[in-house]
């Protein structure tokens, strides 16, 4: 944690944005490690893939498109900013005084809702990974909402920079700057990645289906799958990567994912349950839950992967 704090300050001070972005990546990685220590394996997984992976790539892309140096700005307003921050922090610290001590098992937080999940989800859902059960079933509606958030973002990015005429004409190799140069010529890298990428994609599929038992699930799978492609695009050529999955296709998958999720939810109606009730989908509630979660997780995976790919390529295509 202290390490994170250090990074935080470094980010605040550094002027070179590339360095800043890299540090942010490391920051999320450290956070991920921390999550593992704190038993939040799924979160760690996602944070690593999303925070350290996707956002970093996106930021690099943006820097390539804008400027990589932060101008030394006049710190006129920042004094007030400091005051504001200190005050907010003080209030928060004040708030902590009645918080349960760290890890205290007697805290209210662990005794109201959570135990139910831990005890009941075994019979009701029948999945060892409680997080998945809660995510996909008990609070499945939140997850639906979140899939729509990512959907919104993907469409939004398409809307905002999705049309070539808005990018200034530049050769796309500048996308990830010099880094890119070396990568494209580096034989070892190419060979390794050629071998690596299929593995990544396979791993993504594994994560997708394994999510019910161990850490993993739709998000992680989707993100990993996407990063596989992005890696390919970075090392080889964006155009070929694009031809493998044209914009149309990503867009279709984007929609199919959310439609699948919502569809499963609505199927609940016809089987006589409420929205997102999986128990009614099959003969026994448990198998119903299994089926439902499988389907929605797949939906999530589809949308997330499609969204990530689409966002990435929309940034990438700025140059053409």
């Amino acid at each position: 944690m202290g390490f994170m704090a250090v990074i935080g300050f470094a980010v605040a001070r550094l002027r070179n944005l590339f360095a800043v972005v890299m540090l942010t990546g490391i920051f999320s990685l450290t956070a991920a490690v921390l999550y593992v220590l704190l038993d939040a394996v799924d979160v760690a997984f996602t944070e690593a893939a999303v925070g350290a992976g996707i956002s970093t790539v996106l930021m690099l892309g943006t820097l390539a498109l804008t400027s990589s140096e932060e101008r030394v700005e006049s710190t006129g307003g920042s004094r007030w900013a400091l005051v504001l921050v200190v005050v907010t922090g003080a209030i928060l610290v004040y708030g902590t005084f009645d918080m349960p001590a760290f890890g205290d098992p007697t805290a209210a937080i662990h005794h109201h809702v959570a135990p139910y999940y831990l005890e009941k989800s075994g019979q009701e859902i029948g999945l060892p990974n409680v997080v998945t059960s809660v995510l996909a079933s008990y609070r499945g509606y939140d997850t639906l909402g979140e899939v729509f958030v990512i959907f919104t973002a993907a469409i939004g990015v398409l809307l905002i920079i999705g049309r070539p005429q808005f990018g200034r004409r530049r050769s796309h190799r500048m996308l990830v700057g010099e880094l890119h140069e070396s990568m494209r010529t580096n034989v070892i890298l190419r060979v390794v990645s050629k071998l690596l990428i299929p593995v990544i994609l396979l791993f993504a599929l594994y994560v997708q289906w394994h999510g019910d038992f161990g850490p993993g699930g739709g998000f992680q799978a989707g993100v990993i799958f996407a990063s596989g492609f992005i890696l390919y695009a970075l090392i080889f050529d964006i155009d070929t990567a694009r031809t493998m999955i044209p914009a149309r296709v990503t867009r279709i998958f984007l929609c199919l994912g959310v439609l699948l999720y919502t569809g499963v939810g609505i199927a609940g109606f016809f089987m006589g349950g409420n929205f997102l009730n999986y128990s009614v989908l099959a003969a026994t509630p448990v198998s119903g839950q299994h089926l439902g979660i499988l389907l929605v997780e797949f939906g999530v995976g589809l949308t997330v992967a499609a969204a990530m790919i689409s966002i990435f390529f929309t940034f990438a295509r700025q140059e053409h």
């Binding site: 038993d39 939040a40 394996v41 799924d42 979160v43 943006t62 922090g89 809660v134 161990g214």
Partner: protein
């Protein structure tokens, strides 16, 4: 004794505030978004920290394990992370467009140009 139990929270707060400071104090639009990320990530850490149970394990049911950490915050944060990346993506897209339209990504320079236009 009690305070030892709170130290984690305090560090988290420091992290949050660093992020928050970057957002409001810096003029560079990308930097602002970086700050936003740090701010949010530290909030996630806050959630995960509160979920930890002394001597508990990851909430993946297995024989012989009785105490698990609290799964609900994990779920919430999974959601929040995705929301975060979505926001980041949108923000960056806007930054790119702003750069195209104004030729700068420094907030105060933008304000000057707005004043003129």
């Amino acid at each position: 004794m009690e305070f030892l139990g709170l130290i984690n929270y305090w560090i988290v707060i420091v992290l949050m505030m660093t992020g928050f400071y970057i957002v409001i104090a810096h003029d560079n639009l990308v930097k602002k978004i970086v700050g936003l990320n740090i701010f949010q990530v530290s909030v996630f850490v806050f959630y995960i920290t509160m979920a930890k149970v002394e001597g508990g394990t990851a909430p993946i049911l297995a024989e012989g394990i009785t105490t698990y950490s609290n799964p609900l915050p994990h779920v919430l944060i999974l959601t929040a992370i995705v929301v975060g990346v979505a926001t980041t993506a949108l923000g960056l897209a806007l930054v790119v467009r702003i750069r195209d339209a104004y030729g700068t990504i420094e907030d105060d320079e933008l304000e000057n140009q707005e004043g003129e236009s």
